[in-house]
Structure formats: C-alpha cells, structure tokens
Amino acid sequence: MVTRYVVNSLKAALVWLNDPLNWQGPQGVPHLTGEHLLISGAAVALAALVAMPLAMLLGHTGRGGGLTVVLTNVSRAIPTLALLTIFSATAIGFGDRATVIALAVFSIPPLLTNTYVGIRGVDSDVVEAARGMGLSGVAVLGRVELPLALPLIAAGVRTAAVQAVATATLAALVGGGGLGVVISVGFGQQDRGQIIAGGVLVALLALMTELVLSQVQRVVTPRR
C-alpha cells in the first residue's frame, strides 16, 4: 500500500519534470534556478562586503575573538523564516531584496569567523619576519596574512554559500522567488508530483553548490 503510494508519487514527480511547460517562462525551472543562484550570490557578496573588512581588522589586530563566537551562537538561534518574514513586512518590502538582506545576515558569521580564525592562525614567526623585512601593517595583511588564510577563507565562503542556497528556498514562503517556489506552489495545490520534483531540484542545487565550492576550496588549499 505505502510502497505503491510512494512509487505513484515518484511517477507523478517524473511527469511534472517531463512537462515542457514547467521549463519555460518566469515560473519555469531554468528561470527560478537562475533567480535562486542570483539571490544567494548577491547575499554572500553583500555579507562579504561587511564581514571581510571587519574580520581583517579584527584578525590583524588580534581583537574581537569573543565577538565572532557570540555572533555565531546568536545567529544560530534566529530562525531564517522569522528574519525573512520581518524583512518582508518592513519598508524593504516583498520579494528578492528582502531575501538578499535576510540571507546576507546569516552569511556574515561563517565569513567573519573563518577569515578571523584564518588570519589569527598565521604563524607569528612568519608575521614577525615580514615586519622585520620592513613591511607595513597593510602589506603584512595583504601579502602575508591573507594569502596564508586563503584556505580557511574559502571554507567560510563555501559554508556561507551552501547555507545561502539552502535558505533561499524559504523565500518562496514569504512571496520571494527562487526554486522554493516549485515546492510552495506544489504544497498550495496539493500536487504531490510537483512537491517531490521541487524537493529533488532544490536538493540537487544545494549539493551541486557544495560539490563545486569544495573543489574550489581544494584548489586554493596547498597540499602538504
């Protein structure tokens, strides 16, 4: 009984995925996927603009380690859905702008923490040597600390991006775009096929993002 139900559901999902109408127009899979990636990318970029300079300053001066920990812990307690809803109800308004800002807020902690830890983790002998060679503070940061911190920074970008792609799905619940729309419309119409198809598409997109960015991380991490 249950097995047949599940098999029928999967068949319905295949039927939905096979329908060319679902691959066209502003509600089509390609457009929604593009929108999804654009929202996530913009959120991570916005977060990087805020987090990177701050992390560089804190990491270079060695202050604010506690701040990164507190920020990470508090942000874990805030439901993404709550922030998305609140932003949608403010002057920022419905749609993608509210989503980008909400997702950026959650992307800041991993970027900040990883960059900070990466810079702090640079061997102090190396920093001393660079200073001894007469490098200025900015040069030490740009030519010694940042390049050595790159693997950890890449790990932070990967964490932030995968998380952004995952949570961008929720935007559909509060009137935003992206692939989550397939799922939320599916639930709205109680269309089992569409719900599962949406679930598969979103899961694939998240896993692909993880796969691609973990490769990037591997490339910038020197082999020992």
Partner: protein, 228 residues
C-alpha cells in the same frame, strides 16, 4: 484649556512591531504553539541522540566506518529543510512526523560528529592508565571514555538543540511549525506584533534551552569546567 492633538496616523489601525497586548490577548494560541515547539525539539534531541550515540560508537570502534558515516550525514545535512520536508511528505503526509523525521536527520550530523570528536579526544595516557588497571573494553568505554567525552558530546547536544528550535519554524509548510505557525499567520494577516513577538519567543526559547543545558553540564559533570 488643553487641546488634544491626535496625529492622523493613529486614527488608522495601529500596527506596532512590539505589543505586550498581543501576548496577553493570544495567550492560548501562544501556549499551544510553544508547547508543540518545545515537544518537537525535545523529541528530536532524544531520538537523535539515541540514533547518533550507537552510530558514533560503531565508527569509533571500526574506524573505516567514520568516513562513510560522516559523508552520508553530511549530504543529508546539506539538503535544504524545505526540500527535505517535501521529499518526506509523500511518505508521512501533512503530519508532525514529517517535521520530526526531518529535524532528526539534521541533528544527526552535529550529534555524530561531536560524539566521535569527544571519543577521539580521550588522551592516550588516560586510556593506558585504565588498561593498566585491568579495565576491559566495555568497562573502559563506560567508565572512562564516555565520561571524558561527555562534555564534548553535550556541546554537540547544545548546538543541535539551538538549531532545532530555529528549524522547527520551517514545519509551517506541513502546518506543524510550532511558533512558526504564528510567525506565518502574522505574515498572512500583516500583523506585525504577531510576527515579531513569536519570532522573539523562538530566539528566547533557543537561548533558554542552551543555557539550561550549559548549566546541567556544569552541575552534572564538574570535570567539564576546563573544556568549555
């Protein structure tokens, strides 16, 4: 003579962000939602721990298991919550079970990883001392390794609990999202106080449970003070 000046905006229906009035007026709804939220969180953590503990112990005993185990739980963790609920839906339907199973799957990675890290973190000389005292594998695990690993395991339980509290809200997609139901109802009715007050409750619940677990760890495991 006193002239009362009433600004035009206040003549329209007020829609404040914060309102204690909202809480007192909707006490029953909030209580029901909060109850479901707490219950779902506790069930998730208990079931998740019951599954994660034996998995981590197996991976600790048989090292080759660790990589595939962390790989599989890692992949499951990457799947977005909404997608996971969508994929569970044909099996479990519009029920609390859909949310519970999804939440357990998310908690697994955090719990397994921390349990394994805790067990791996037992110092070799402690283990050797236990061996020298004639402890067998079972007693060693029960009397030495698990107690030493417990603070790290509890750290994992705390992270999993706080994440779970936040994630319960996504259960709104199947109509079982605890306080998330109120957040969403507030969104649909453009009722700001409902959105903000129920969101704040979720955050407060997460932080309160975190604090409670931290206190419990300190009280029950005085030896943990050095680690966290």
């Amino acid at each position: 003579m006193l002239i009362l000046h009433i600004p035009a905006a206040s003549l329209a229906a007020a829609n404040p962000w914060f309102s204690w009035q909202y809480v007192t007026d909707n006490r029953a709804d909030i209580q029901t939602a909060l109850q479901q939220h707490v219950l779902l969180t506790l069930e998730t953590i208990v079931i998740g721990t019951l599954i994660a503990l034996p998995l981590a112990l197996m991976a600790f005993r048989w090292r080759w298991l660790a990589t595939p185990l962390l790989g599989v739980t890692g992949v499951l963790y990457t799947v977005p919550s909404l997608a996971l609920f969508a994929l569970l839906y044909p099996v479990t339907g519009l029920s609390e079970r859909t949310v519970l199973i999804g939440l357990v799957i998310y908690a697994l990675l955090i719990l397994v990883r921390n349990t394994l890290a805790g067990l791996d973190g037992v110092p070799e000389d402690v283990r050797e001392a236990a061996l020298g005292m004639g402890y067998g594998r079972g007693t060693m695990l029960w009397r030495v390794e698990l107690p030493v690993a417990l603070p790290t395991i509890m750290a994992g339980v705390r992270v999993a609990t706080v994440s779970t509290v936040a994630l319960v809200t996504v259960g709104v997609i199947v109509g079982e999202g605890g306080l998330g139901q109120l957040i969403f109802r507030g969104f649909q009715a453009d009722y700001r106080a409902e959105i903000v007050m129920s969101s704040l409750l979720v955050v407060a619940l997460g932080l309160a449970l975190d604090l409670l677990l931290a206190l419990a760890t300190r009280l029950l495991m005085p030896w943990s003070r050095g680690t966290s």
